[in-house]
């Protein structure tokens, strides 16, 4: 008995050490490709690092440690960059992510619910079709939509012209979607004017965003027992009452994590914004990530860009912590204790 107990203990110990050994290679690789650059970045965010320092890196003789200057410059808009205001970009960035989620989730749920109607023809084809946007490369999507919003030849202006003609206005429409800096609804978002480019991007990203929500909602819908609807219909619920009282609350546990995911995705939707508007006009559609990219790519201020990246990291961390709380707070009704 005593012997077996001690050998058991030894085995347990060996077993508990083994996982660390297995994880070691991964840790080493992550150390080299993740943690080292991160720390390096934090260090150079306190310097005046520019392209001329690239060769010698931190050992460059003229590299100066300038404390929090980069950070202060960013927050006080003291950078010699046109139309830059950190808090406006931050506000816009949050609004961009939130407004997308608030559009995509309800649309996805609604379409999934409609497609879940019993006896609907060609259901499988619709469902396959709406996955399509998800697999088209963002560059292609952005190019297509840029063309759609072309001032002279784009489909959007032509469509608006047709609609206008319908209401007795035969003039052609030349809306400059990506150039007009005057917000169509002034003061809609305090602190960050929403230009036409924002609306154009919302339309294009809507096309890209709802299918994912619909996929999630379709899966969740199928796990709602049919007899709940039957019980509700006997209890006196109309179709829309069933939707609000049963479908919506029972979809919530699935949709909130999806919404959180959609939020983080939109929050950092670099390629789409970059290809479509490049952050313009007048940086009105700039996201934190596209601006950081500009700092490095066009201005080559590595020090400022590093500071900016650190700020983005902190913002992202806060967003992550909040969304994580939200996700954990919405466990499935069946599981939660």
């Amino acid at each position: 008995m005593a012997i077996s107990k001690s050998t058991q203990k030894a085995r347990k110990k060996r077993q508990s050490n083994l996982p660390y050994l297995y994880l070691l290679p991964a840790f080493l690789i992550m150390g080299v490709i993740t943690f080292y650059p991160l720390i390096y970045q934090v260090i150079i965010s306190f310097t005046n690092f520019e392209s001329k320092h690239l060769l010698l890196g931190l050992r460059s003789p003229e590299l100066e440690f300038i404390g929090f200057k980069n950070y202060i410059d960013i927050f006080t808009a003291a950078l010699p960059v046109e139309n830059f205001n950190f808090f406006r970009v931050l506000t816009f960035n949050f609004w961009w992510a939130i407004s997308n989620v608030f559009l995509h989730v309800p649309a996805g749920v609604l379409i999934a619910t409609l497609l879940n109607t019993e006896g609907l023809w060609l259901k499988k084809i619709y469902r396959a079709a709406y996955i399509l946007p998800v697999v088209v490369p963002p560059l292609v999507v952005a190019t297509v939509w840029t063309n759609i919003f072309d001032e002279r030849y784009g489909a959007m202006n032509q469509l608006l012209a047709i609609i206008g003609g319908f209401f007795g206005n035969p003039d052609p429409v030349y809306i400059r979607w990506f150039e007009d800096v005057k917000p169509p609804i002034p003061g809609f978002l305090p602190g960050a004017p929403l230009t036409l480019a924002y609306y154009a991007m919302m339309i294009a990203n809507f096309w890209l965003g709802w299918p994912f929500m619909s996929v999630v909602a379709t899966g969740a819908l199928q796990s709602i027992p049919k007899d709940l609807y039957e019980a509700a219909s006997i209890d006196g619920a109309t179709g829309s009452q069933q939707f609000w009282n049963i479908t919506v609350p029972l979809l919530r546990p699935a949709m909130i994590p999806a919404a959180v995911y959609g939020f983080t995705l939109s929050f950092n939707l670099f390629n789409f914004v970059f290809f479509m508007t490049g952050g313009g006009p007048a940086r009105s559609t700039e996201l934190l990530v596209t601006f950081a990219y500009n700092l490095v790519r066009n201005l080559r201020w590595y020090g400022v860009a590093a500071a900016f990246a650190v700020i983005i990291f902190i913002v992202a961390l806060i967003v992550f912590l909040i969304t994580n709380r939200i996700t954990r707070a919405t466990q499935n009704y069946q599981e939660a204790g």
Binding site: E230, A231, S233, I234, D235, A237, P249, Q334
Partner: protein, 366 residues
């Protein structure tokens, strides 16, 4: 409160005819049980009445109103589902209040009705819980509670006890019967358990393969089954059946199987006098086969020689599994019977309690 009428009701799923010409009239305040084997169409019949399925042909009436095209919510019925179908995101209170809220019942009224129902069902202490925090029996009560707060004209139950353990089932059976007496409303109750049917129903409708076999009181079904199916379905252990031929000679009617002959008492033999040579199924219930030692006096007993194959001692009674030639059957005898496995013995058939069915139509002959 209302009567319910199925009139020439048909239901097809695609080409499959599930309900075939169903005719049932349920009186106001009656407790009707629909019973039949699995897949016979009981749930379908109930769902037709609830309006969850459309009928293919015929008419369903609640009271005097034809409800073929009336939406479920306007039929003034309440249904307890086999799965209970409780709303998982709502508390017990809100589950029960849901229908009333939708009907814009005043808040105090809702509160009163829910609390009353909770009191009746003894679930007052559970009102704040979510369904997942309840046991099966408690969920079942909540499902019943949700039905009774609505004060509907007709209650529909679809096998509400089938997910409960045996003991709880017996208890809930009694409570549902009590509830029926208390509410004085029409109950229609679906089950495949003939014991439930026998113990609760004021009348039973036996259904097989979508066809109504017989509709009568439990006792009448038991004593006078119309056909072989009803005879075999009602009663546990089931009635014993023997392939046999009727033999009429000298005004005596004999039932001849390949291993024994029994005589039908003079007083009961009239319907069979002209049926000499006919192939029949002879039926007798296990409790009408006696150990000679304990056979009641004054019966028309007929002796049959058998061998005891298996015995089951139940305490208050004993089941003997018997063999006579190729025929095997069960007798339910006095627990004091000392017959044991392998014994050869004679048993007494109580010939006042026999059943005879036409071998080809399976209809009762009497």
């Amino acid at each position: 409160m209302a009567s319910v009428t199925f009139q020439n009701v048909f239901k097809k799923f695609g080409d499959l005819e599930i309900i075939k010409n169903l005719n049932i009239h349920v009186e106001d305040k009656e407790f009707l049980v629909l019973v039949g084997p699995s897949g016979c169409g009981k749930t379908t019949a109930l769902r037709l009445l609830a309006g969850l399925e459309e009928i293919t042909d015929g008419e369903i009436k609640i009271g005097e109103r034809v409800v073929n095209d009336v939406a479920p919510k306007d039929r003034d019925i309440a249904m307890v589902f086999q799965s209970y179908a409780l709303y998982p995101h709502l508390s017990v209170y809100d589950n029960m209040a849901f229908g009333l809220k939708l009907r814009k019942t005043p808040k105090e009224e809702i509160k009163k009705r829910v609390n009353d129902a909770a009191e009746i069902l003894d679930i007052t202490h559970l009102l704040d819980r979510k369904p997942r925090q309840l046991s099966g029996g408690q969920r079942q009560r909540v499902a019943v509670g949700r039905a009774i707060v609505r004060e509907p004209k007709v209650f529909l139950f679809d096998e509400p006890l089938s997910n409960l353990d045996a003991k709880l089932r017996v208890q809930m059976r009694a409570e549902i019967s009590k509830l029926h007496q208390r509410l004085q409303t029409t109950f229609i109750y679906v089950t495949h358990d003939q014991t439930e049917a026998m113990t609760m129903a004021s009348r039973i409708a036996v259904i097989n393969k979508g066809l109504l076999q017989q509709l009568d009181t439990p006792q009448a079904l038991y004593d006078k089954p119309n056909n072989l199916f009803v005879a075999g379905f009602i009663g546990s252990p089931a009635m014993n059946f023997f392939s046999a031929t009727l033999n009429v000679s000298d005004g005596k009617v004999l039932v001849e199987t390949d291993s024994f002959k029994v005589q039908i008492p003079e007083a009961l033999s009239a319907p069979y006098k002209n049926l000499g040579g006919k192939n029949i199924i002879f039926g007798i219930r296990p409790e009408n086969i006696h150990d000679p030692e304990f056979a009641p006096p004054n019966i028309h007993g007929e002796k049959v020689s058998v061998k005891v194959d298996v015995t089951e001692l139940m305490g208050n009674e004993t089941f003997l599994y018997l063999m006579s030639g190729k025929n095997t059957f069960i007798a339910r005898v006095d627990p004091r019977s000392k017959k044991r496995v392998g014994d050869d013995m004679q048993v007494i058939f109580d010939m006042d309690k026999f059943h005879i069915f036409d071998a080809s139509t399976e209809e009762a002959v009497r």
